[in-house]
Symmetry: D2
Subunit: 354 residues, 4 copies
């Protein structure tokens, strides 16, 4: 029984990334990021983002988020994020650990996006109701959101502007930034620092590398806060060249965007196919590579008979499961069509029976 | 100018490890260690260590040490280690961070080994002088030591017994465990749990993997303490199969021991050659792959003229540098001999001149 | 301009407490709680609560809450409390600090009381939605609540039972426990351990002592967790006899209950008087010594002309201020009546004018 | 059996302090330090120290030290102190807890004073040997030292200058500052900020208050770091006027210096008497109110027969106990003479017997 479209984490690594890894396994190189490839990484990111940056390779997305946020949120402050944010919901308290006790204050908003009025009213309340509590030091956004939607450039701008007006730093969890960039057709710069983002978790693992993500610091005054924490966090990588080489391959020839485009296209194909199934219901616009869908019980049963499962964590207001389907750069049209066929067949069988 | 024998961290990855990595890049696999390879890893370690264990793959040795120690040392306790221990001297306070404020109490001892009397008197003092302070919860040993010497099985046994008598847990930083095992000709079991070690940082990165070390828990009651901390620590690896595959390859066909044997042999060859240079002085027995040596100034100058440097961090009582030379599984006899020839030539030139 | 009924924290100390303090200032005594008075304190609390307890004197209510909770919630777990809980809203992240990074998960409920269904659904969600996050380790209740209402014995029982079914510890913030006890007419035992409370912040400062609160541990297995943290927390009091003497006086001859009774009576008198003012609106039942009230603007203006202010932090749905009035053991009938007269006069003047 | 001269912590409170406490127990006052007395405290300290300061009242000396140090030492840095420092030896890891994981690096030195060369060589090593570790952020001195000696003004100046040259902050644990000031005959200013001290734990509890010490910040840029931590640390005192009143009484009419003078005089009288006992040996100069002494066994036995004990924690190189005798402002000449008589009598009896 295979769970189909379980996560983009279940994919392997891009061929180009594996090749980069092999090429770098020649001779010796200075450890801890003093090798050539690691040293040119910030410059490489600077090209991608069209501005000077400080970039740090880390081995997990959780480390990227938690260390980046620790650099901007002191222990006696709070940070604002969406209720569905990965840092709030899924990372086991890593932000609390790395910040050494800061508080995450979750905000509401449709489609996985923080509602500007929710942000504004929280910040207004911060001046009175939170008088004796932990004033916010940062806003953390996630793009692609956990609902699979993309914040537009102007949405990011608006939230970041409000945050900056209250002296909050702006952090972006870009675990699926590539998917958002290709979805919106904007530049990486537009979706980050030009919109007010100061520090970014640049996700690569879900979209082609093995175990190399990066912290990209646009507001370079914040870079020292990352540097000071890396070794202590167990994230100064001895053979850093191997992680840097993954990132380098990932950024070369727009591989990161090509991979994201493939994942998004497959999600789109999948969503369109599902929409045709009577009784199926998409819950959010499919801006990237994540689909949330309700499916009739007979569909689920049919999939199971074919050795396929889908995965859910949430339920709708009736307690019925909402399935999350995630495509990756490795997802093929055949795979999508096979799945859709199984669903379609289930439906026809059902119709015939009725 | 190349720094020769700078560290075993400057080596690449074993061919077998790279092959393992490539083989695993096929199709999808469950993330976060629920893949097949990751799931059989504890069993694989159990074979190596001839006992049931719980094993956890992590991406750095610092993470292995700090998470393992956090599982056995509460924040309001201390842990005993050698003054030269990597956890005390080189890891940027990672143990303080992961334990959330435990204290490292450094102990003296020749050759990088904790002197049994130093341990005993610290523990005795703990009952009176430390009355109001942080009682010790663990002893952390390092084998191979930072001086390149190996604790014998009976030395480990003796220290561990004293520790256990005072209800301390026993941790081993085995960043170079393989080098110690082949040096002593004992089994991995003898050098660890049979001698009283309860939790081990199993080093692999310095000896053949890219970025896969492991925490191996012999006292399995301690395993939950590791599990609870991994995600929070940014060490739940999404595509874990790639790290587990490295470890699997590293353990297969005794690759880990073969690699260590090569490194040790080369260190031995290097040490023997150096001993013949008049004015050179080895500071410690060369049990593994690390050599500490004083070299006449003219030797250093001659090396430099040939484009070679050696690295030092310590000085002797006269302020003269003590050089640390580290060999790895990739070190070849040619490389050693080339270096020795440069030294020998320097000496002869000098003699001729005098 | 005096702010009337601002807080029970603005009161002084009971005469009996001051006398206890003076009596103890004779000769020398062992420090750090080894004096006679401190040593008999647990026994004294055992009488009050009709069961064996371990009691620890601390100098602030925040320390009592944070240290007590740190003893039951590990850093990688969460604790459930009401949105209005003092620990969530007013203590500056002390719980996050003392637990070293645990998360506070706020729950909804009318009248400052956690809704049993909110607790149940959070705990149910904890099994699935919070799969990768911080499972709850404790439930913290507050009685008297921050709304000035009292949980009944059966309400506490119900919530505690649910918590225990999910292996949560049960903590009670009893900053105003005395006010709840006299309000409900139950015994201290019934409202605490007999209802399932395992560890209690026993408030005394707001009700008669200067700076002595206590942590009372009913589940004595949890006592060591408090002991281990006190010194480290800066709460091992050198001249402890002076704090213990305050508590002893506070518990003698039911002073604590008599003080609370006076405060509650005055709040009742105040509330009844306010209810007669047209346009005034009480927001919650007045179970103890706290009143939340909306007052017509002309009342506020009249008070100001008489040199009186009232204090607000919250607003109603129209943005109009909701005033919080708190009485204490020192509040006199004259003080209440004077305030009510000013309000009444304001109303009559108004009526005459209209 | 009474332990004589056990600690200055066993004394009560000065009559003037108790009077100050009673006077302040009138009417209501704003809580959390917004009362009149608390608000004028910084000004009062400014007079004493002849410079503007920010002062914060706290309820224990450990809280003063740990919060003050947390304001100047980030979690990923270390601080230097003497091996015998109270913060290292006796406070249960409070500094590690409040700094959230900084490391205390203990330095050697005779008489409880850090040896300037030990400081210099540690700081020099910090540039190389500690390359990968926790660079020092502060130096913490203790005056009166734990050996009962006093650093002179020029000794403080020298150490502070070295510290400042390496960009370290300078902290002073002044648990017994008053004893040092009267011993040296200098001004409080000379012994603190004029010598380079930036932040001070101003001890009062051991010398006359009940439970009020203060953090006095000379480098006022550091004051915010204290403010941000107080509430979170459980040290924002609700009825602060009662603690401030203690400090105010303690500072009035030079009570703090008069008390210290009495304690010092009694220690001097005691030391002089002991010196006359054959076989007794003083271990350090008696600059303040602490004496470390070896006493012949028959003296100890004679004391015991008279119902007196002395207390020891340390032993000399032969394993014989070294007794610590501490006088306080409450110690009388009669008490000292009675003790000396018992010793003298013991000696004479012995001589007669021999």
């Amino acid at each position: 029984m295979e769970i189909k479209f379980r996560s983009d984490n279940t994919a392997g690594a891009s061929t180009e990334v594996m090749a980069g890894l092999s090429q770098v396994n020649v001779g010796t190189a200075l450890a801890y990021g003093e090798d050539e490839i690691s040293e040119r990484l910030s410059a490489r990111f600077a090209e991608i983002f069209e501005t000077r940056v400080s970039a740090f390779v880390v081995s997990t997305g959780t480390a990227a988020n938690a260390i980046g946020l620790a650099a901007v949120v002191p222990p006696f402050r709070s940070l604002l994020c969406h209720w569905n944010a990965h840092i709030y919901d899924t990372e086991g308290g890593a932000v609390e650990f790395f910040t050494q006790g800061a508080r995450l204050v979750p905000l509401h908003g449709q489609l996985g996006k923080i509602e500007p009025t929710a942000l504004a009213s929280e910040l207004a309340a911060g001046g009175s109701a939170r008088l004796h509590s932990l004033p916010a030091a940062a806003l953390s956004l996630t793009n692609l959101t956990e609902c699979g939607t993309a914040y537009s450039v102007s949405e990011i701008e608006q939230l970041a502007r409000t945050a900056r007006e209250h002296n909050l730093h702006v952090h972006l969890d870009g675990a699926r930034l590539a998917n958002a960039v290709v979805s919106l057709g904007c530049t990486p710069a537009e979706l980050t620092w030009r919109s007010g983002v100061e520090i970014l978790s640049f996700g690569a693992i879900k979209n082609g590398t093995i175990d190399a993500d990066a912290i990209v610091v646009f507001n370079r005054q914040l870079a020292m806060g990352v540097t000071e924490r890396l070794r202590r966090a167990g994230q100064r990588i001895a053979k850093a060249r191997f992680l840097s080489a993954q990132i380098e391959a990932y950024l070369s020839d727009e591989l990161w965007l090509r991979n994201a485009r493939q994942a998004n296209r497959m999600a789109c194909r999948l969503a369109k196919g599902i929409e045709r199934i009577p009784g199926a219901k998409l819950h959010f616009p499919v801006d990237g590579n994540i689909i949330f869908v309700s499916l009739p019980t007979f569909c689920i049963e049919a999939l199971r008979r074919d050795g396929m499962e889908v995965w859910h964590r949430n339920v709708d207001t009736n307690g019925a499961p909402i399935y999350r389907l995630v495509t990756s750069f490795e997802t093929s049209a055949e795979e999508v069509d096979g799945f859709l066929n199984a669903l379609g067949l289930a439906h026809e069988t059902r119709k015939a029976r009725d």
